[in-house]
Amino acid sequence: MKLYDLVIVGAGPAGMAAATAAAEQGLTVAVLDEQAAPGGQIYRAISAPALRDEGILGPDYYHGRRLLAPFARAAVDYIPSASVWEITREREVRFSAGGQARTLRAGRILLATGAQERPVPFPGWQLPGVMSCGAAQIMLKTSGLTPPAPLVLAGSGPLLLLIALQLHRAGVDIAAVLDTTPRDNYLKAGRHVGGALRGWKVLVKGLGYLARLRASGVACLSQVSQLRAEAGEDGKLARVHFTHQGQPRTLSATSLLVHQGVVPNVQLSRAIGIDHRWDEQQLCWRPVTDSWGETNIPGIFVAGDGAGIGGAAAAEQAGRLASWQMARQLGCLDRQDRDRLATPVRRALAPVLAIRPFLDVLYQPAREFLTPSDDTLVCRCEEVTAGDVRRFARMGCTGPNQTKAFSRVGMGPCQGRMCGLTVAQIIADTRQSTPAEVGYYRIRSPIKPLTLRELANLGDTDQP
């Protein structure tokens, strides 16, 4: 079992920046990443972007090269295509790569596992032809592939507009962009306009996406509700139904891309037993950390979107802050030097984070995506509907672990990643409680499926 000063899980902006900063301070560092190449989701395939035309994705994506270059040079053991399935409180990290399970030991651990897209349950979201906006963007970055027409995009949040713009730049014909942001959100978000003004650059960028789409003649419909996907005879997506300005409408579609923002990927932090709190504005759980990213479990840190959505620029800085604190704890950096490094970074972070409350409230999903209609599939793996969850909540289930036992919701291979937030919202709604009170699934290792052979051989493969 190899011992490192620091093991980082994830090679996105937080992980790459943290690894580089920690190696600069003399720590021995290993980075484990699920993907085959560094970048995380935001900078997917940044070491070998698929698209010849860099104008399609735009400069924010290629900014990733500025993180990649020093990361590639740093004295770091980078282990790609490695899925971490267990971390113990004693800071043992177990992962599978190449069909073998192995263990590393770590003085400090940084979880830089980033975000996942918020599940977008609505009737028909499981049909072939429906994909997340993030998925479409990953296809552009890694393979230069675009979804077949007719194409409709639906949802809420900056990524919806960004991917629409990117696909438009790529020459893809977009039938419509359906914005489901509820009108009330604009009023609610107004309360946070002070922060929005401090972070005006981000705001202007978002408004710019929409203006450019409209100017290009893409149909952008706002205040869309009652979204529903319908299959054709072949079982694949054929039509998208929705209501716009009180009128029911239908569009033919081969592809539907959906998005309702992103939420922290907390599977690993939960399995370790880190404390989490419910974030009322982001409507998700986030691990509780101090200002350096350290959790209630000594020596285990979280940085980046996995600690609460802040975006790529903030993630990169949070990764560095965590590394400097870990370097200080391990005696590689004294307090003065740590603070000298950290102060300008914290100053730069302030406006980036100041806009979050505004964005978070503005892009809160409409109720129909938080507590979907009874006929909506909530758990795609075990095929459990919102109606099933409501029935068991009414029968007395007070939380998601009880509805799980009664209905199998959350028991499939995704281990609740695609239904956990929805189930808790439905139970809270049915019992007139809150997701904070209702709680979340009890997540246990291994958090990724692995073969019984890998598990059984762990003892052998751990020999040095």
């Binding site: 070998a48 698209l51 994909m131 990953i138 592939l145 079982g235």
Partner: protein
Amino acid sequence: MQTDSPFNRLETASAATVTIEIDGQPFTAREGDSVAAALLAAGAIPSRTTPVSASPRAPYCMMGVCFECLVEVDGLANVQGCMVQVSEGMRVRRQNGARALTQGDVHEAV
């Protein structure tokens, strides 16, 4: 193989091509494609049916979260297609329902 409505490939940076098999049919993918991306590029959709109700599914998140892209790769079932890159000669099979333990593992049919 179904080849209707495949994803379209834009002009890409030069990269090697990789020939894989999808349900026994050859398909030319681009190096760096995930297996799930190759299935979408080939129009091999739906890429599986579920073990619960046999309903058709296709890759959804492309980032390892949703487990919709489960597929058989080189004889190993239920691989997350979006997490594995194509390689020369790779044999990919779409899955229908629960995986069977065949491949001569259990001789007696059940």
